[in-house]
């Protein structure tokens, strides 16, 4: 039986990937970012999950507005790295998990989630920007140490799904994972945020006070977050910061008993970069955690 052993919330702004590629590890302007991810990378290196279920959003790269999905599940064995307009970022292609992903497709559709499915499409920084921080040795090794099941969420073109629907998607994903017969250890990842706005005269908006409150509520009281409206998220965290509803999907896939064991926050420029690590109580007793 597959089980979820923990969760990660993380920003996915492209700058994170750029800082990694340019090896800014020792640049004083970037040290806080790298430091913030160390504990998470260590935890992943220790737990060695088989699969990351990755709630992320496309940035008008893989999908265009002539056909835009609300939720799209990647079911193929591999996903190339997308060219986002500057050539392909030198990271390994993403390895899928068709067995689990197809099972999830059947389970989610029967559970009344009207997901799209996609295969073999290139994926953009929505996945690969945080991925090099989570699995920092993969570029050198030439392969990611685990598989991904990508779940794309529309946060670009309104109407976007409600915060509550995202949380419910996470809950349905938990049911789907737990009904998969193979013995797999799974970590759920929710990406995006925190506060930022990238359009109009309000661009450059941030709100650290709200970000801190969000980082608290996402562990302690996710229902306070699911009862907020998209307009509230846009007002408090900026129109683009409202993409944190993808963290709610991650949180919905965790048990109520999951504990936040690490967090980090850094706001150098326009987007608040945050990472938070959640562990399930059962994770300590899991197969590989000897």
């Amino acid at each position: 039986m597959a089980q979820i052993i923990g969760g990660i919330g993380t920003s996915h702004v492209p700058t994170i990937g750029v800082a990694f590629d340019r090896k800014k590890n020792d640049d004083p302007d970037w040290i806080p970012l790298f430091k913030g991810y160390e504990r998470v990378a260590e935890w992943l290196a220790q737990k060695r999950p088989d699969v990351l279920v990755f709630f992320y959003n496309d940035h008008a790269t893989t999908f265009f507005f002539d056909h835009y999905p609300t939720f799209a599940l990647g079911v193929s064995a591999q996903f190339p790295t997308a060219d986002e307009g500057m050539g392909v970022r030198p990271v390994p292609p993403i390895k899928g998990h068709p067995g689990l992903a197809r099972h999830m497709a059947h389970a989610l559709v029967n559970d009344e989630f009207d997901i799209s499915v996609f295969q073999e499409l290139p994926i953009d920084h929505g996945c690969n920007s945080p991925l090099t921080m989570l699995w920092p040795d993969a570029v050198r090794a030439g392969a990611w140490p685990g598989a991904l099941v990508p779940i794309e969420v529309n946060v670009l073109q309104h109407p976007v799904p409600t915060p509550l629907r995202c949380y419910k998607l996470g809950q349905a994903v938990r049911r789907a994972v737990e009904s998969y017969p193979e013995e797999l250890e799974v970590v759920v990842v929710g990406t995006g945020g925190l506060s930022h706005q990238m359009n109009g005269e309000r661009a450059g908006f941030n709100n650290t006070e709200w970000d801190m409150k969000f980082l608290d509520l996402i562990e302690r009281d996710p229902h306070a977050l699911t009862s907020m409206r998209l307009a509230d998220y846009a007002r408090l965290g900026g129109t683009e910061g409202a993409e944190v509803i993808m963290w709610l999907a991650m949180r919905g896939a965790l048990s109520d008993a999951a504990k936040k064991i690490h967090q980090s926050y850094y706001l150098p420029m326009t987007t608040a970069m945050a990472v938070a690590l959640f562990e399930e109580p059962a994770a300590g007793t899991a197969r590989k955690a000897a």
Partner: protein, 119 residues
């Protein structure tokens, strides 16, 4: 009215990308999205007017792209995420795009940031 979005019009300087904007600017956004293809980037770099023509952009749309007028493009209906591709192609950073949308110089904008060197 979408109850999830009620009140968002009170956020001044905000242009929510929705189906209405998407429909209005579909051609423009497709033009910008297509920069994911190296040959489209090449055409734009070599001969922007031919690229405009092939994409069927209106004169208004062409003029905004020629001028890299981020503020006008966003107001018109461009998605920031298709626009970002034009930014990269034109060597304009996100902070510079953001500064322009705010009506500030890059220097002015950087002064408002916590770590002006982190870009």
């Amino acid at each position: 009215m979408n109850p999830q979005l009620e009140g968002i019009e009170s956020l001044s300087g905000t242009y929510l990308f929705d189906l209405e904007r998407s429909a209005k600017a579909l051609r423009l956004n497709r033009f910008l999205h297509d920069f994911i293809h190296p040959e489209k980037r090449e055409l734009f770099k070599q001969n922007p007017e031919a690229a405009f023509e092939a994409a069927g952009l209106s004169e208004e749309e062409r003029e905004m792209v020629r001028n890299l007028d981020w503020r006008a493009l966003i107001r018109y209906g461009a998605s920031f995420f298709t626009l970002e591709k034009l930014g990269r192609l034109s060597g304009v950073s996100n902070p510079a795009m953001v500064a322009h949308m705010r009506g500030e110089t890059l220097e002015e904008f950087l002064k408002t940031r916590n770590v002006p060197g982190a870009r």
